[in-house]
Amino acid sequence: MLPKRGRKTANRDPLDSFVDAAAHALDLKIEPAWKGAVKTNLEVTLALAALFADFPLPDDAEPAPVFAA
């Protein structure tokens, strides 16, 4: 069901919506009292990810853990 349009929804931080959607996708029940800290932690982590997200690496760069058959 789509969220009802309204001032509260229209001004909602997209990260709040992301937390709700991710919790749904992961089948995680997040109690209302936990949400602020979860969002803050996610904000910190995404900010750190931004530090290397655009770091130029070639397409064939190999990830660190290598699987051996």
């Binding site: 995680l28 997040i30 979860v38 932690n41 995404l46 530090l51 770091f55 990830p63 660190a64």
Partner: protein, 466 residues
């Protein structure tokens, strides 16, 4: 013999030549634990019956004329994420109290015992090792023996407190992002995080598989080397454990730092450092005659990538428990794990690619130097309960930021010895970082600094003579 502050090597020698017995040493350790742990809160379980039985067996071996091991009669304890047969492996959590008792000991416990060491208990830790403080909402905070109102550092908090407080000469910890080196620094003791894959992690509770290490904490470089040598060797039970022979380091320590090329880590590792951490680093560098700086390229990004991988792998590991038992976690750990489980996979994949790039650049530096010096923690032990501190003018959470200088090193699995510089009123550590598989280099430098009187585990008043 004052076994409260004796080196493990001294205890083993005294037991081997009959100046004391393993039983007497272990009884003294148990008595110290009973007396001081009410304050230090380092132990979550005491394995008294097992310890006394093992000590009696060592004494019986000696009575039969058998040669004893290098750690004969040396009491040791382990962070409570190591399996101990007959005990549930808590990993600092409430949830794991429902687990069945472990069927066997962790491989490294068995190896230490095979050399005569005697396990006396399990140690407090930050929940599921996601912690740099040593605080635990279920078991209470580990307390720093140098000031019991201050943090031990974590997550191997009980390991730091038990060794620095004179309860045991050797403890085992685990280090994913700094959890051996941070408590070693704040408690003023020596800690070794070996090369990734060097020591078996079999039968321990994991945190971040691609970053988890185990290693010893002790009050001298020689004791670190003895424990490390006893635990080396491949283990089929840990798929990450390398196929390498035992490369004993203890016999090499006397070479000290002769012929080794050493540099100070610059750039990222110089920013945000407190006056105490700068003083400690300067003392160590001066004693070694080191003046040149070397830059670990993109260390800030490396720390960020380690943070993201940790959050993501940790969140994935605990997802089932987060679904069903969210209220039973430490809230500070739970909310980080939930956020970690939500990180887009693209960021994690990029972090792992960046990790290999960073590894190649840093390893290239070791063509020019044998070891790099860096701060272990940005500051001395914060107060228990302190939530934030200021680094480089920015207020940051203590829990996530005590390891900012350790994370870029363990990120690529380099071996590190944290050495204690005995500043007043509180000690602080310096990292000695070496190339992969060169634990000998870091331990030799640590030993040299100890011989020169620059680094030392100083005795807190709590651990007074017996």
């Amino acid at each position: 013999m004052d076994t409260a502050w004796a080196q493990a090597s001294e205890i083993a020698a005294a037991v081997s030549d009959g100046r004391t017995s393993a039983t007497a040493v272990v009884r003294a350790a148990l008595a110290r634990m009973a007396k001081h742990d009410r304050v230090l809160n380092a132990f979550t379980a005491v394995t008294e019956e097992r310890a006394l039985a093992n000590a009696a067996a060592i004494d019986a071996e000696r009575a039969r004329g058998r040669r004893l091991g290098a750690l004969a009669g040396v009491p040791f304890a382990v962070k409570n994420l190591f399996d101990i047969a007959g005990l549930a492996t808590l990993a600092g959590s409430k949830i794991n109290r429902d687990r069945a008792p472990a069927a066997r000991d962790a491989t490294v416990i068995a190896r230490l015992e095979a050399h005569g060491a005697v396990l006396v208990g399990a140690l407090n830790m930050g929940e599921y090792a996601y912690d740099f403080t040593g605080e635990n909402v279920h078991d209470g905070a580990s307390r720093n023996p140098h000031d019991v109102n201050r943090m031990t550092g974590g997550s191997s908090g009980g390991s730091g407190g038990a060794v620095a407080g004179g309860l045991v000469p050797i403890a085992l910890g685990s280090d994913t992002n700094g959890s051996i080196r941070v408590p070693a620094s704040l408690c003023g003791i020596f800690g070794l995080k070996p090369t990734y894959g060097r020591l078996s992690r079999a039968h321990t509770f994991p945190f971040v598989a691609s970053l988890d290490h185990v290693g010893p904490l002790a009050r001298s470089a020689h004791d670190l080397a003895l424990a490390y040598d006893a635990m080396q060797g491949h283990d089929d039970d840990d798929p990450v454990c390398a196929q390498r022979p035992v490369e004993a380091v203890a016999p090499l320590l006397a070479r000290c730092s002769e012929g080794l090329r050493i540099a100070i880590a610059g750039g990222y590792f110089r920013a945000g450092v407190s006056a105490q951490a700068q003083t400690a680093l300067a003392r160590v560098a001066a004693a070694l005659g080191v003046t040149n700086e070397i830059e670990l390229p993109e260390a800030k990004r490396a720390r960020a990538a380690a943070y993201v991988i940790t959050a993501s792998e940790g969140g994935a590991l605990h997802l089932g428990r987060l679904r069903t038992r969210g209220r039973d976690f430490d809230p500070a750990v739970r909310d980080r794990l939930i956020a970690g489980a939500m990180i887009p996979a693209a960021h994690v994949a990029k972090a792992q690619k960046f990790r290999r790039w960073y590894r190649e650049r840093v390893l290239a530096l070791f063509a020019h130097v044998d070891a790099v010096l860096a701060p272990a923690t940005p500051c001395t032990a914060p107060a228990i309960g302190q939530r934030t501190f200021v680094l480089d003018g920015v207020e940051l959470p203590v829990r996530a930021n005590l390891g900012i200088y350790t994370q870029p090193i363990s990120f690529i699995g380099l071996p590190v010895v944290a050495v204690p510089v005995p500043l007043q009123p509180l000690p602080i550590g310096v990292q000695i970082v070496a190339a992969p598989w060169r634990e000998d280099v870091a331990l030799r430098i640590a030993h040299a600094l100890e011989q020169a009187g620059i680094v030392a585990a100083t005795r807190p008043s709590l651990a007074g003579a017996e």
